[in-house]
């Protein structure tokens, strides 16, 4: 028998955890809840150990040739953390109950979910949808996480949020919203009994404090230490600095590009801004060179990524372009909305100022910022980014398609192409169509991409298996059940 779980690992988190994250049915479309979900829940199909859409609770997937049905067979003897059996009913229940990000899209495409027997469940689509697994089976939505039907019906949604039960490796032990979450290894997990008995997730808002905490060994993981703090962590003996390979790009949305009165409606101005920013310098300063300079809103690692021409930092030409556009003395570019924890806003603002584009920085906390972005009421420039997994198409749907959940772009040509590709089953054609979209984006200067962000993870000396990059596209450390504490620590 495997050794009983032992010891405690503690995280110093950069984001505030909340009980709304407990319910994958309400996944907001950001990466944050994954932090808990990987511990608490398990999905039919999900990114797992090297596979972006790996089977987890299911051990078999049958796909019909017409691309209309997907049948999952669950592993036998699955149990929730309270000991209840996990069956196909729960899978269907979870899907039907799902109302988080992408729910509408998913439900529009899925005609029916049928429970064939306690271990088999069949998804029937209305029309062929090549991205079904990308949506259902990755973390682009949270629909594949399986929740206990019986329990939820018993305690209700509110009750569930207070005492959530899942099928994941760790059971919630105690939580103080916004402060600390405690998890305990579950003995019912199918994959294995976790190595570490307790996980503690602590929200430490201030990055300097996070660094101090890990230096003193108060936490074993510290996330998002950038700039000077990252350098200091790198210098500190015993600490390991890593970056998660995640498809996160930071790019600036020209929120006012369709406002005739705004200078941003002029593509020349947008181009000028593009070449006024020295991406490399920013990478070095903020991410210790760990990030990648970026020229597209789509991450390079994503399927259907098209490699755009790289703009060259050239402030002189930027000034010239501005003059040509009728702004020889620069102009007032409104706000630059950013996420407060962000490292890029200030240097970008400064580079823009250099060529005469004056913008005012407007930082808000990450969650608030995302919310504002999604509300689409912002003007001027919006520095945003996305770590949502998926492929180029899902990204484009979100950020580029007219009416996309975070899209400030309204481009009919692009919309047409996006519609076409979404029904295209031929991969090559689809690749071409998506490349076309990305070309248009680049030509029409719809965005100002800056960096592919580095999610810096600092691990302390006690950590054995740190879980960094073990789950594809997951910025956090996981799978939690695989983490270990170094012996003798």
């Amino acid at each position: 028998a495997p050794a009983a779980p032992q010891g405690t690992l503690t995280w110093g988190l950069s984001l505030s955890l909340t009980s709304t994250f407990f319910d994958p049915g309400e996944t907001p479309g950001t990466g944050a809840p994954l932090l808990l979900q990987y511990a608490q829940h398990d999905a039919v199909i999900r990114p797992i150990a090297g596979n972006p859409s790996g089977l987890s609770l299911a051990d078999k997937l049958e796909q019909s040739d017409d691309g209309l049905t997907y049948t999952f067979t669950l592993r036998p003897n699955l149990r929730f953390q309270n000991g209840d059996a996990l069956t196909a009913e729960d899978v269907k229940f979870s899907f039907d109950r799902y109302r988080g990000a992408g729910a509408k899209l998913l439900k529009d495409k899925v005609a029916e979910v049928a429970v064939l027997d306690p271990l088999r469940v069949r998804f029937k689509l209305k029309e062929p949808w090549p991205d079904f697994l990308t949506f259902y089976g990755t973390t682009a939505t949270g629909a594949a996480w399986v929740l206990p039907k019986k329990y939820i019906e018993e305690v209700g949604d509110e009750g569930f949020k207070k005492a959530p039960i899942g099928a994941g490796p760790y059971r919630l032990k105690a939580f103080k919203p916004g402060i600390e979450f405690n998890f305990e290894a579950s003995e019912h997990y199918w994959r294995k009994t976790p190595n570490v008995k307790n996980l503690v997730f602590r929200y430490i808002p201030d990055p300097a404090t996070r660094l101090a905490a890990i230096k003193r060994g108060e936490v074993d993981f510290a996330y998002a230490l950038t700039g000077a703090l990252g350098e200091e962590a790198r210098r500190t003996k015993g600490l390991t600095l890593k970056t998660a390979n995640i498809p996160v790009t930071n790019f600036i949305v020209f929120a006012s590009q369709y406002d005739e009165k705004s200078p941003w409606s002029n593509p020349k101005v947008r181009e000028a801004a593009d070449i006024a920013v020295d991406r490399k310098a920013i990478n070095d300063a903020s991410y210790m060179g760990l990030a990648r300079e970026s020229y597209s809103a789509i991450p390079q690692a994503m399927a259907f990524y098209w490699n755009p021409p790289q703009s060259v930092y050239d402030p002189a030409r930027a000034k010239k372009l501005l003059a040509e556009a009728g702004y020889p003395n620069g102009f007032d570019g409104g706000f630059l909305h950013t996420d407060a924890s962000d490292q890029i806003g200030e240097p970008v603002q400064s580079y823009l100022a250099e060529v005469g584009i004056r913008v005012q920085l407007r930082p808000s906390e990450r969650a608030a910022h995302l919310k504002q972005v999604a509300e689409k009421k912002l003007t001027g420039l919006v520095l945003t980014g996305s770590g949502a997994p998926g492929n180029a198409a899902t990204r484009l749907d979100q950020f580029v398609r007219t009416g996309g959940s975070m899209s400030y772009v309204k481009d009919a040509d692009i919309d047409t192409l996006l519609d076409q590709q979404s029904r295209e089953l031929n991969k090559e054609k689809r690749t071409a169509q998506l490349a076309q979209v990305q070309t248009l984006l680049s030509e029409r200067q719809r965005f100002l991409p800056v960096l592919e962000y580095a999610f810096v993870i600092v691990t302390g000396p006690r950590v054995g298996v740190d879980g960094v990059n073990l789950i594809p596209d997951n910025p956090y450390t996981g799978p939690y059940e695989d983490l270990t504490i170094k012996p003798g620590q």
């Binding site: 990055p207 700039g227 000077a228 200091e232 300063a285 240097p347 920085l361 930082p363």
Partner: protein, 294 residues
């Protein structure tokens, strides 16, 4: 208690035996900052908002690796700390000064009117003052800032809205006692109208209190402003405000970039110190009972 010296057995009356040079030093400090604030454009060696990432984290000139051109070093974006401090003085003093003045004028006027007229006006105003004073200034300011959003003008309005109540309370209680003073009674007997009494008899007599209060308040206001910046609801970046510099500099603290926090903190402390020294001094100075007879 045998260790007590004889002087402890007969403690000194609170005579003003303070070192006379102190107010001059305070004035000098404030003067230097004022000059910095006014002449920032000419004095500052660099544009405070201009980043040069290649020059990040230069230490002060006298430390190894420092450069004379960046006397107090540079921050995480390579901006000159000294220039930021100089421009920061402008924000601190302007935001602080203006809000203290606005709060003072408003609070004094309301305090005089409430104290002298009494009645419903007094009741309404004082209940408002009570209620508003019940909010800790920083919390109230944060709340207002969250409501109206950050900008320098908003900040002035916020700070004035938070601090006028203090003047109103103090001035009112002073007016209540002045109102019972014989010279006010005699002015009534002489036939002076209420507005005349308020303007000519009460105002000049509470002016000192208000001025002293203002200097003492200047310190709190500057600290509050810095705290707001620190919490991210103050002057929006990249305006070089001291509080903001501290907040940014905190990240460098752990990495040993002490100059990013030590200098702005020192500036705030010096200004506040100078303001409160001047306040103390003015209080002694303006108190006619302490003025030498000629």
């Amino acid at each position: 208690m045998s260790a007590l010296p004889a002087s402890a057995a007969v403690p000194a009356a609170p005579r003003k035996a303070r070192w006379r040079g102190l107010p001059y030093i305070a004035f000098a400090i404030l003067g230097v900052f004022l000059i910095m604030a006014l002449g920032a454009d000419f004095i500052a060696p660099h544009n405070p908002e201009r980043a040069a990432l290649s020059l990040r984290y230069l230490p002060p000139a006298w430390v190894d690796g420092g450069r004379a051109a960046y006397f107090l070093g540079t921050d995480h974006l390579g901006r000159d700390v000294l220039s930021q401090l100089i421009f920061g003085a402008r924000i601190s003093l302007i935001v602080g000064g203006t809000s203290v003045v606005i709060a003072g004028v408003l609070g004094t006027a309301i305090g005089i009117a409430a104290g002298y007229l009494g009645g419903w006006f007094d009741q309404v105003m004082m209940r408002l003052v009570d209620a508003w004073l019940a909010l800790p200034s920083l919390v109230f300011a944060i709340f207002l800032a969250a409501v109206v959003g950050p900008s320098e003008t908003n900040l002035v309005v916020i700070l004035a809205a938070v601090y006028w109540t203090r003047y109103a309370r103090v001035v009112r209680s002073e007016v209540l006692s002045l109102r019972e003073r014989d010279f006010v009674r005699l002015a009534i007997v002489a036939g002076a109208s209420p507005s005349r009494i308020m303007a000519r008899h009460l105002l000049p007599n509470v002016a000192n209190t208000a001025i002293v209060l203002a200097t003492l308040m200047l310190g709190s206001v500057i600290v509050t402003e810095a705290s707001l910046s620190f919490l991210g609801v103050g002057v929006p970046p990249p305006r070089p405000a001291w509080g903001l510099m501290l907040s940014d500099g905190r990240k460098g603290l752990m990495a040993g970039y002490w100059w990013l926090t030590v200098f702005p903190g020192l500036c705030i402390m010096l200004v506040v110190l100078a303001a409160s020294l001047i306040g103390d001094w003015l209080r002694d100075r303006l108190d006619p009972s302490l003025r030498p007879l000629s």
